[in-house]
């Protein structure tokens, strides 16, 4: 494990989520689940972040915001789509204002299904994302040589 995967910082954005997954993401940070023990810190600044957690699906107004945040995160970066809405649109798939899952706008590395996704699953998804982050970093290093 490199230093990167030992202390990844995450940024969370609520696309058009119902809040169910958002409060579960926050619950991961609090004493019972405590993902800080993996060195994970929640930041509000995209330039500090390595992992992008998105809940909810893409709509007309937030698609630019998501792209903006994604572009500001430095390489290597991983995206975790949390909840069934972020994965595919979920029960709201047929709504006129829902364009679909997060992968219609930015590349997604890990999908965490569930409505609402449980904290254990979110942690599992983030840990899985760390492995991918590591791979991406190794590839970047190899490219430099």
């Amino acid at each position: 494990m490199t230093y990167l995967a030992r202390s990844p910082w995450v940024i969370h954005y609520d696309a058009s989520s119902c809040n169910g997954c958002d409060i579960e993401v926050l619950a991961c940070l609090t004493p019972l689940y405590d993902i800080e023990r993996f060195g994970i810190i929640n930041t509000g600044n995209p330039k500090h972040a390595d992992v992008f957690l998105v809940t909810g699906s893409i709509n007309e107004q937030n698609k630019e915001v998501i792209k903006n945040i994604y572009n500001q995160i430095p390489e290597p970066k991983v995206v975790v789509a949390i909840g069934i809405c972020a994965t595919s649109g979920g029960v709201f798939r047929e709504c006129y204002n829902v364009m679909g899952g997060i992968d219609t706008m930015i590349p997604v590395d890990v999908y965490v299904p569930g409505c609402a996704a449980r904290p254990e699953m979110i942690i599992d998804g983030v840990v899985k994302a760390l492995g991918i982050l590591e791979e991406k970093w190794a590839k970047m290093e190899a490219g430099k040589k």
Partner: protein, 359 residues
Amino acid sequence: MSKQVVIPFGPQHPVLPEPLHLDLVLEDEKVVDAIPTIGYVHRGLEKLVEKREYPQYVYIAERICGICSFIHGMTYCQGIEGIMNLEIPKRADYLRTIWSEYSRMHSHLLWLGLFADAMGFESLFMNAWRLREHILDDLEATTGGRVIQGSCKVGGVRRDISSEKLDEMASGLDSMQGELHDLVNVFLRDSSVRHRLKGTGILSKDDAYLQGAVGPTIRASGHSYDTRKIGYAAYGDLSFEPVVASAGDSYARCEVRAKEMFTSIDIVKQAVKKIPDGPIDMKVTGAPDGEYFARSEQPRGEVIHYIKGNGTKFLARHRVRTPTLANITPLVTILKGCELADVPIIVLSIDPCIGCAER
């Protein structure tokens, strides 16, 4: 007069768990105007009534918001039952009441935590959320879901709670009260918290009423308006008094929510004592024809579900007026004249739930 500048606040902002955008017009550090823009989480779910049969739509109604999920589902069901003139079993009414109050406690603890975080009081945030897990454990044990319960349906509820579990829940709340008191004491007595909250964002009694504030926001400005008093579900059989404060500032709004948790514990304990035996649901046949405004008290205030049926399985219209939408006008009023550094606290003090507001 100094030069005016406009500062955009949000949609992605460290203090906001949800996207809300405000254009703040500033003169030096003073906010002179605030213009809200919403729509970042607008899904248009009200239009799904055209594609989902009315009993299926309960799932959508519950997902209007993940924090006040249970009460949305319940109010929608009450609307349908109102049109069809259904008298649901008493036990179902009591179970709905118990789950509503659990939702209120979990929402208020969540809000207290986020509010502490906005003040920069990290350890208090963690403590509030640690206590909240007790509430979520009971919700999960009785409904199977932590935040989205899925236990309400048209004509009753889907799951029963055994009498042993009900007693266990009541005694669990009792043993939690001590810790809850300690937590609330910090919010209400700590000098740094008081210093930060007293006098910020004052909403006068008249403004609160005329601008249509609801929930803790109106009760903190001296009105004792609480929709539970109309006696839907089992609230008519239970005795409680709405918590009221008069100062109208952020401290008062915090005080109302903090004290309401103890009212909720009391209501749950009364309901556990009085709950009758019997069936928990009834058979529903036919389709709603007519219109009905169902009202109930969310953690954030009064919610209205307007339902119009046309005699088919698909409703003609379902409209939700959520408490946050009603509280936006008061929010804009109290933001005028505050300092930029207080904006996060004032925005959070109305307990905005954007997922609700935009649907």
